[in-house]
Amino acid sequence: MLDSKIPQGPLEQKWTNYKKTAKLVNPANRKKLDVIVVGTGLAGSSIAASLGEMGYHVKSFCFQDSPRRAHSVAAQGGVNAAKNYKNDGDSVYRMFVDTLKGGDFRAREANVYRMAECSLNLIDQAVAQGVPFGREYGGYLNNRSFGGVQVSRTFYARGQTGQQLLLGAYQALMRQVGKNTVQLFSRHEMLDLVIIDGKARGIIVRNLDTGEIERHSAHAVVLATGGYGKIYYLSTLAMGCNGSAIWRAHKKGALMASPSWIQVHPTSLPQSGDYQSKLTLMSESLRNDGRIWVPLKENETRPSNDIPENERDYYLERRYPAFGNLAPRDISSRAAKERIDTGFGIGPLKNAVYLDFSKAIREQGKEKIQEKYGNLFDMYLKITGYDAYKEPMMISPSAHFSMGGLWVDYELMTTIPGLFALGEANFADHGANRLGANSLLQASVDGYFIAPYTIANYLSNEIHTGKISTEDPAFEKAENAVKQQIEDLINIKGTKTVDHYHKTLGKLLYDYCGLARNKEGLKYAIEEIQKLKAEFYKNVRVSGHGNNMNTELEKAGRVADYFEIGELMCYDALTRNESCGAHFREEYQTPDGEALRNDSEFQFISAWAWTGENQEPELIKEPLVFEEIQPTVRSYK
C-alpha cells in the first residue's frame, strides 16, 4: 500500500504543520552528512545550493559541460505566482483550483495547494538573486496571462524566463561551489543507483570526458534530472534530455507514476523534413496576442495573407469562447490535430496551423509586439526564413513535458528510502496536464522551499550512520553491471545507428501513444517496441570504445532505456479506460469530441513496479481523495 504521507489538518495548514513538526539536523551534524544531487536545472541547482548553504556536504552532477546549460534554460514564457499584483482576483486558492482543474483532477490536492502557496516566495527569491523580471514603468513587477487561467499571474523575463531563473539558481550553486560546500561534477552521467540495506546510498556515474566509471556514496540521493519527452525523438526538449537516471532507479525498486501522461505543446514549429532532430518551441505566451486559425476551405493553396477574414476558421475561439486562444495545452493541441487530420492543415507538409499577429500589430503597434516577443520572432525568422511580423507563424503540436515520473510522497521521496525526485523527474503536482508556466515553478519550489525541509527530516535519522563506503559490495555489483552494459553495447557491432532506433521508436509512440490512443493501437505498439528492442540488441552499431569520450555510447544507453520506458507508457495508457488531460483514449470521448473522464473508476494515480526483464509491470493504485473541491467536468467553453 502506498503511503502518500499527506499531513493532517485543513488544506491551508498542511504545509505549515509539516514544517512545524519536521525534524531538524543540528548545524554541527550537517557537515557529517553527504547528499548527491543529479541534475543542475532549476530543481537540481536550487536544492544543491540550498543544502550547501545549510552546511551539508553536497555533490552535484550534470551531463552538460556546465550546470548553466540544463534544459530549464530553454523555458521561455514565464513562471506563475499568485501575487495578485494586477488586482484581478488572484489568490493561492484560485491558483490551486486552476492547477487542479488544469490537471484534470488527477493530481493530489495537498501537493497542488503547496505549490501555489510556495509560488509567492519564489518570485521574491528570484528577484533577490538578480533575476531581471519584466517591470512596469513605475518599477513594479509586471505579469501576463497564460493558457488555462483567467487572471494575470505569469511573471516573465522577456521570452527567456527559464534562462534567467536558471542563471539565478546556477549562480547560487556556483557560489556554494566557490565555498566548497558543493562539489561539482559536470560532464558526468548517472548510470545506476546503489542501494544498501534498502536505502539509496550512492550512484555509479560515467565521466563523459574520459569514460571512467566512478562510485559516489551519500546519505541521500536526489534525482532532479528532468523529463523524458525526448523519447518521441522529435520533441521540444534538448538533445541530451533523457529518462535514464529515473529509469535505472525504477529498475532498482522506485515506482514510476503516470508514465503515459506526456504533454504535447500546441505552439512548436512544424516538422519540415526527415533529417530533423528536434522541434523548436515557440512560447505559449504568444497566444496572448496571436490568434490561431486555419482556412475554412480544405486543401487551401492561397498564401495566408490572401485569405480574407470570413474564410478563416478561428477554431479555438469558436469552440472554446471563454478561453479562446488561451485554452489549456492539451485542449489546444488536440484541436490543432483535429483540424490537421481533417485536411485543413497548412504549410508545405500540411502539418501546421497559423498563429496570426496581424490584429495585435494593428491594435498595439509593431514596437509593442517586438518588445514582448521580439526574440521569438527573431528565432522564428532564423529557423524558417519567414518574417512573422508580415505573415502568420506556422505552428504545430509537439511532444514536450512529461507529467509522469518517479512516484513520490508528500516529502518528494520515492518508494526507496533516501531517494528523492524533484521537478519534472517526479510525477507530482501537474496531474494529467501541465498548465503553462507551472514547470519552472514546480522545479524551483521543489528545490528551494520543499526538499530542504523534507530531506533534512530524512537525514535527521542518519546522523549516526557515518561515512558510507564505496567499497561496499553493492557498489561493486552496480559498477560491474554498468561496465557490462557498456561492453555489450559496443560489441554488438551491427549495421544501424542509435538514432535510427530512436527515430523509429519515437514515431511508433507518436502514432500510437501520442496525442490520441486506442486499445488496439497500444497493444500493437507494445509488440512493436518489444520487436524493435530485440532488433536493437542484435543490430545497433555503437562506434568507438567505452574508455573515452563517446557520444554514440551515451545515446545508446539512453535509447536502451527508452524502449522500456516506451513500453511502460503503453501499458499505462492501456489500463486507463478514460480520457484525461494529455491522455486521450479515442474510445472515451463525448459526441462532440471532448475528453470523457471516468472518476468513479479512475480517480487514482497509476504507480508501476518493475517486475523484471520482459515481464509485464505491476500496477499499484494510489487513490486520489478530494476534500476541498469536487472534480467537475473541465469546460473551457
Binding site: D124, T280, T495
Partner: protein, 249 residues
C-alpha cells in the same frame, strides 16, 4: 545541395589534430548546420568510422553549448546566431566549409570540435552572484526597479556563455562574458551591495584562467549570438576603477 567540409579532427588534448575532408551530397537547404553534422555522423558510423564529436544540446539558441568556428567565424556567417540556429540556406551549393573548434588557451580542446569552457564557471564562482541564501528574501516588489533599468540589466543578463566572444577575440579575452555579468548585477539594486568585491574577484579570476586582455577591437560584440554590447566592458572598467580607488564606498 552539395557541400565540401574540412573538419578539425583531434583525438584528445595532447594529440596533434588536423583538418579532414568530407563530402556530403543532396542536402536539404532547410537543414540546420548541426543536422548537417548529424547527417555526416550517420554516414561515418555506417561506414565504420568514428563520428565527429561536437557540443550541442538545446538546439534552440539558448543553452550556449554549441559553438565552433565556421569559415573562421564563431557560429558562422550570420549575425547574432548560435551554430544550432544556422541553416544551410546561408551557404552556397558546392561550397567548401572549414569547421574548427573555438580556439583559446583558456578553452583547451577535448576532442574534435569540443572544448573545455569550465573557466567560465570558475569566473562566476568567484563572485558572479548576489549573496542571498534561500528562503528569507524580501517582497519582490518592495524595491522598485524602473522598467528601463530592468531591461538594461536583462540585455546584459542575456549572455548564454557560449564562448564565441573569446574564440573570436585576437587576445582570447573573456571581457565581454565577464563584463556582462558584472553589469547585470551592478545595475540592479539587489546586486549593488557587492559590486566592488564582485568586480575585483571576477577580473582577478579571469586573469588567472589565462584569458587575454581586452584591446577594444569589439570583435566580440559582432560575433555574440545575443548581441551583448561592448558597453558592458566599459562598465566593467568603470566598476573596476571605482572599486580600486574607492573600495566599498
Amino acid at each position: 545541395m552539395d557541400l565540401h567540409l574540412k573538419i578539425w579532427r583531434q583525438k584528445d588534448k595532447s594529440t596533434e589534430g588536423k583538418l579532414v575532408n568530407y563530402d556530403l551530397k543532396e542536402l536539404n537547404s532547410h537543414m540546420s548546420f548541426l543536422e548537417m553534422l548529424d547527417t555526416l555522423n550517420e554516414k561515418l558510423i555506417t561506414e565504420g568510422e568514428e563520428p565527429v564529436e561536437f557540443d550541442h544540446d538545446c538546439r534552440e539558441g539558448i543553452c550556449g553549448q554549441c559553438g565552433m568556428m565556421i569559415n573562421g567565424l564563431a557560429h558562422g556567417p550570420l549575425e547574432n546566431t548560435t551554430t544550432c540556429q544556422l541553416h544551410l540556406r546561408s551557404f552556397k551549393d558546392g561550397e567548401t566549409i572549414v569547421i574548427e573548434p573555438f580556439r583559446a588557451e583558456a578553452f583547451p580542446i577535448k576532442r574534435d570540435l569540443k572544448v573545455d569552457r569550465s573557466a567560465f564557471d570558475r569566473i562566476i564562482s568567484s563572485g558572479g552572484f548576489v549573496s542571498v541564501n534561500t528562503g528569507q528574501a524580501p517582497d519582490a516588489t518592495a524595491i522598485a526597479v524602473t522598467h528601463q533599468v530592468a531591461e538594461e540589466a536583462f540585455d546584459s543578463a542575456a549572455c548564454i556563455g557560449c564562448g564565441a566572444c573569446v574564440a573570436t577575440c585576437k587576445n582570447a579575452s573573456a571581457a565581454l562574458f565577464t563584463s556582462a555579468k558584472i553589469s547585470h548585477m551592478a545595475l540592479l539594486p539587489q546586486g549593488k551591495e557587492e559590486r566592488s568585491e564582485r568586480v575585483l574577484k571576477m577580473v582577478r579570476q579571469m586573469d588567472k584562467e589565462l584569458f587575454g586582455h581586452c584591446s577594444n577591437t569589439e570583435a566580440c560584440e559582432v560575433e555574440c549570438p545575443q548581441g551583448i554590447s561592448v558597453l558592458n566592458i566599459a562598465r566593467m572598467n568603470y566598476e573596476y576603477s571605482r572599486a580600486m580607488f574607492f573600495g566599498k564606498k
